[in-house]
């Protein structure tokens, strides 16, 4: 059990999250080509970090909790990333040798 954050901290985080929601909403109206999804995901990632670190209080929590929270994200990347390896490279054409 750790130090208890102030109400002010929570409200600040809430304000940032709300602002980011509007940012992501408006950025989606601007044509950035393939970067739209990248920006959206970066903002979502940032919001997730805020919720995890402050609302879920991982910032003040034990390294073990940090490890488990990180592991979840890491395994998600393994699942999606390794699957996409196949789809991204499927149309590449090998020409006899692999190196």
């Amino acid at each position: 059990m750790h130090s208890i954050p102030s109400v002010r901290t929570y409200v600040t985080i809430w304000a940032i999250l709300t602002i980011m929601t509007f940012v992501t909403f408006y950025v989606a109206q601007i044509d950035l080509g393939p970067w739209n999804v990248v920006v959206a995901l970066i903002i979502a990632f940032f919001k997730m970090m805020l919720v995890v670190l402050f609302f879920m209080n991982v910032k003040a929590d034990s390294p073990l909790t940090k490890l488990f929270a990180g592991a979840g994200f890491f395994w998600l990347i393994l699942l999606v990333g390794q699957t996409l390896i196949d789809y991204i490279s499927r149309s590449w054409m090998p020409n006899g040798k692999f190196w």
Partner: protein, 543 residues
Amino acid sequence: MSTALADPQLTEQPNYLNSEYGWKSWLFTKDHKRIAILYLISITVMFMIGGIFALLIRLELLTPEGDMVNSDTYNKFFTMHGVVMVFFFLIPSIPATLGNFFVPMMIGAKDLAFPRINLLSWYIYIAGAAFALAAIVMGGVDTGWTFYTPFSSTYSNTFVITAAVGVFIAGFSSILTGLNFIVTIHKMRAPGMTWGRLPLFVWANYATSLIQVLGTPVVAITLALVALERAFHIGIFDPAIGGDPILFQHMFWFYSHPAVYIMILPGMGVISELVTCFSRKGIFGYSFIAGSSLGIAIIGFLVWGHHMFVTGMSMYASLYFSFLTMLVAVPSAIKVFNWTATMFRGSISYDTPMLYAFGFIGLFTIGGLTGLFLGTLGIDVHVTDTYFVVAHFHYVMVGGMVLAYMGGVHFWWPKMTGKLYPEGWAKFSALLVFAGFNATFFPQFIAGYLGQPRRYHAYAPEFQVYNVMSTAGATILGLGYLIPLIYLTWSLRYGKPAGNNPWGAKGLEWETTSPPPTYNFEKTPIVTEEAYAYSHQKEIEVG
């Protein structure tokens, strides 16, 4: 079984078996040891069901013509054999029985962290098994245990949804067991039980739990999607509207390859216990064996694509997965070498559990090496989907996992029941299992390289000689499983009382009485030395 165990004349000291009586005291128990016994009985039943299907398959394959049953029935046989054995026997086998019983005891805890969740996981398992059995009774499933789309989602006319729901439910039982172990191992260790002193069986179960927690949800959602696709006729994996059947395979194997390690890792943990106990020596390279368990758990998630080299997956993805497959073999090799080195200059006895351990190391070596054939791109193209694959994974699953399970049951039986089993019969059946196993599955390597495809109801006549050998071996193997079932049950009533430590083994579980009291220890133990410190004593006391 419960009535026999609960006979008050059998055991005098207060223990977990005689603390309460009646069926309610079992069905509503929160004691990890009683839940382990519930699991033990349930998975034994499932093993017998799966085994009956296996024997029926082998009988059908005695002749090349499909003359015993029709092809639909045969397809249902191998599907139900796979589903029952994989999801309802192999995956829960060691963690839910031996792990449930001994992980808390080995770390000096009174129980698992969440006893009610532990009981819940058994009920979920039973619910899942009920669905799977319902699918059998209603008419069976014929998709193969892999549920490949679009066959499972569109073309099969059997009870796919029922079976998929059964597997889905059973998955949550597995997840809850894993969750319970992780928390227990992190938070419930006795004073002095540092990570460096954990018995290797606990390490192995920890690594297993990680895979269960991280992998199982993916197969659950994948099978849920298949069931939804079947129910609503939508095309998530249906090529007709742009779905990709290969995506199903990716998502399925994301879990189902690591699931192989869910099955084998706890077995490796058992072997570490057996080899040290029956060599009376500390393990050789403790940190390497412990670390390799974690290594397998992590790298195991990076290799699933080797099931898909001929599916039309990208060449470069094949390259990636093939390379990492070579990498995952390293931690397994480390374990085999370390076990062997542990025996060096030991004091080796030939008690039944050790015979199983010898068998495990040898057969797992063969199973592991043939896995490299399948991870090698050029060879896999020829041997994938043939009996070579069947032989390979039975060498790992039966030659490895089931042998370890039998070894573990024999090792801890005196502790669990307070009874000794007849050693002569046990040794005999261990040899029978070893011989029967090799006779069953070695010929399949040859049949596989010759090109006999798996899941064939009728096959080309030139493969018959190998199939006859296989069927003959399976008969011996079946007998080898039946004998222990008989003498272990017999020992519950007639077996000689076991002392607290009949093997002279190290480990906290051997320091308490047999059978253990309800909360395992009279007083919380304090650990002062590393695991397997056999040499700290002048003499080993047995009994």
